[in-house]
Every structure is written in C-alpha cells, then in structure tokens.
Subunit: 257 residues, 2 copies
C-alpha cells in the first residue's frame, strides 16, 4: 500500500444507483484509494440488520477512475463485513464513509438508519467512520452543500482521527450552501416517531398496511442534532454503541430481583 | 379494559413457530390479557430494521386460551408498530415482552438483535419492555430455567415499573435451573465480533458467501453481561437508546470543524 494514499471504503443504504453515492465518491476520490461496496437496491430503514438466513452475493459492477465498485444483495452492515473480509481481505482500512444518505438520520432516526448502522459496524472494528445524511429524501436532491461541508469534515477526520470506537453522525440541512451557518457538535435530540399505518385493500380483497409516520421533537435545545439543523447548522454527533443505561444500574435495586 | 388485568404484548424475532414463543406465553398468561404479534418466519439479526419499501401483511392465525395470535411479513420492530396501531388500536399497553430468543443477545449482539430492537422500540413509546434471551440457539432448547427466572423478573417489572424510556436486556445462561446462582444487574461487555465469510460456489459457477463469526470478549469483568453469564448468573442490563458519545462532545474540538 502507498502510505501516502489512505484506503477509504464507501458504503450506503440507498443502493448503487443513488445520486448520494456519486456525491460521496466526489468527496473521497481526491483523498485516497477508494473502494465502493453498496446494496444492489434501496435498503433504507434496515438498522443494524445482517443477512443470516440466505447467502450473500457480491458483484464487481464497475471500475472507473481507479475506483472499484461492488454491489451485494446484503444490508448496509453486510457491506462493511464484505468490504473488510472479501473485497479488501483484511487490508487496513483508514476510513469508512457511509452515504451520502437521501434523508435525515438525526434523533431517533439514527436507530433505524442503515447508513449509520454501517458506520457503527466500522466503529466496532475501530475504523474511523463517518455517516453523512442530507435532509432531503428526493432522489434528485441537491448534494452541493453536503459535499462542500462533508469534504471539510472528512478531511479533518482523515488527518486527525477519531477517538477509539467512536463514529460521527453528520446531518446537513436542506438549504443552499450560502445559508449554512456553520458546523455544530451535537447530542441526540429527544424525539419520538408517531406511526401511521395506512390500511388498504388489495385487488383480491386482502388488507395490507403501509408504514409511514412523523417525528415529534420533545425538546428544542440548540445543542441537539435537531436544534442545530433547524437553525441551519450542520450537525456532527459523536456516536457510541454501549446501550447500557449506566445511570440506572444502581437504581434498579428497587426491583428487588 | 379490566383495570386488574394488565395488557401485555408479546413479540419475537424467531417467528410464530418458535418454542421460545410458547415459553414467553407461559410466563405472560397468568399475568394479564395477552396479545401476540410475531414474524411469519425467522427474522434473526434484523436489528432495528423496519419495512418501508413493501406493504405489511397481518394475519390472525390462532386464538387459544383467550390469547389472540397474529403473524406478519414484517420485522420484529414492525411487530411493535402493528401491535400498537393496528391490533390494539392505541389501547394503553402495560408491558411488552420480546422473545424468549433462541440464542444470546449479550454484548454487541444486542445491536444486531431483532428481539432487543423490538424492546427498544417499545421504550421509544415509554412502554415498559423486557427482552428475554437464552444462550442456546437450538430450536429445541430447554427454556425451563429461563421461564422460572423470567417470570420472576417480568412480575417485578409489571408491579414496580421501569424508569422512563428504559428497557431490560435479560440473558439466561445455558444451564439447568439449579445451577443458576442468581440475577445480576450488568453493563454491556466490551467485545468484538470476528466475521468469517465462508466462500462457496453455486451449481452455476457463481460465488456466494455465508456470514458466520464468533464473539471475542475484550474484558472479563464480572459486572458485565458476559461476565455474569460466564459465572452462571442471569444478566439483566438496563438499556437506553441515546447513542451520543457524550464524553466526546467537548473533546471533538480538536477536529477544528
């Protein structure tokens, strides 16, 4: 490996045809050797799902500008595992980039996010990783502001590293670059998702349901991801994967288990 | 609703035919009104995945001993959403029970777990919830010790409640009931999953991969989930869903973003 050329693995959850993937490649290309491993279709809302019951496929579908592109029937987290073990065969990866996602991964959306699960999976293996998401679900979203600020963040992470087993959840507001006020380090906003399961009837008389919903913010603090985004700041949340509610380890004594 | 009869929703990730589901029903049946909403097949390792790209189906496949059983093509987390919104139509749920899972959900396995994702989904909505898992992947696992200790834990939670937005990740060692030494409140063990992607060739000459792996404990502390389980204690981990690495919010200044 050329020591001056960091090895960068790009993954996403929107699949190999997503415009956000091109945007991410444009960030990474000048920074090192880039390899892309992404799902062969949209895999939004996959959380930390992995493929256990069926075999994984992997296809080298394109080689362009020195970048090898692979797609798989697996999930975003599977893309990390396949990237590390099969495509790069345990070579040292210097940086994992996930996205750029079409749509927000702030607040509790982070928990449902395949984009961020892939970044967290890389953090398990202590690879510096960054998930980038734009608050615009449109397939033709304008990624120019995200690329501008994303490049800045990614360059800093590549140069200065991240704390062990910590990754970044970066969200960009849906505004032109000149309206972005700057970058804020944030914490996860307390919010809740209100489900709406739309009931319909198929042509054979059987009911089915479409899962939709909306996010209710339960706080307006400007130091949260949602608070920063509302004020047109880029939100950078440091993310860890210890789900222990440490503050309740001693208080759970009241249960008298 | 009969005020003396708590409403209990049971979900799992092993599907409607799992022996662990029967075990969970045997815990819940004496405690209140029970409704079951589970996947129509095994959905292990689904993490917090939800079904966005295709419609959800829901079938009332059995009614027995006053318990209504539903199955769905959705994920474990979808089971919570369908249970709350469609089956129970916003009735107040007093307790969600997830499992009993065939296999461990301790340490980082918690992050991949559909069982625990469903419990966390209930915690989003501030419903007391408990995920139960037995360290035995066998379809014919012996759940008698898990039922014995699980009933004890579930009764206490139903009587005394849980802190807001906190759920419990309960894991049972794979030993007979008389060898279990007791119950410990634990924190998530620091461990890492080592992937092994087994490469094979199908009859048409195309490669495919089976995802397997093993967990390496990176600490042996008896106060962790893994430490307790190794010593034949039942592990009860309080779980929260704020993934912010709070300790790094100030230190990330070194990135100079």
């Amino acid at each position: 490996m050329d020591e001056a050329r960091p090895l960068i693995l790009i993954v996403n959850d929107d699949g190999y045809e997503a415009k956000g993937l091109e945007a991410m490649v444009s960030i990474a290309k000048p920074l090192g050797e880039v390899v892309v491993v992404v799902p062969d279709r949209t895999r939004s809302g996959m959380g930390h799902a992995i493929t256990m019951g069926e075999p994984l496929r992997l296809t080298n579908y394109k080689n362009e500008d020195g970048i090898a592109y692979y797609k798989t029937n697996g999930t975003p987290v599977d893309c990390i595992k396949l990237g590390e073990k099969v495509v790069l065969r345990d070579r040292k990866i210097d940086l994992v980039l996930s996205g750029i996602n079409h749509g927000s991964n702030s607040s509790v959306s982070l928990i449902y996010s395949g984009t961020m699960a892939a970044a967290i999976e890389a953090a398990f293996d202590n690879i510096p990783s960054v998930g980038l998401s734009l608050l615009d679900y449109s397939p033709n979203a304008d990624f120019s502001a995200a690329v501008h600020y994303g490049r800045q963040i990614v360059e800093k992470v590549l140069k200065k590293g991240l704390p062990p087993h910590i990754c970044l959840n970066v969200n960009f507001p849906k505004v032109p670059v000149e309206e972005i006020k700057g970058i804020r380090i944030t914490r996860q906003c307390h919010a809740t998702w209100h489900e709406d399961l739309q009931e319909r009837t198929d042509p054979y008389g059987r009911k089915y349901y479409w899962l939709t919903g909306w996010l209710e913010r339960l706080e307006e603090d400007e130091n949260t991801c949602e608070g920063a985004l509302q004020r047109n700041y880029v939100s950078v949340q440091p993310v860890q994967f210890d789900l222990t509610a440490h503050q309740y380890i001693s208080t759970l004594k009241y249960l008298e288990l």
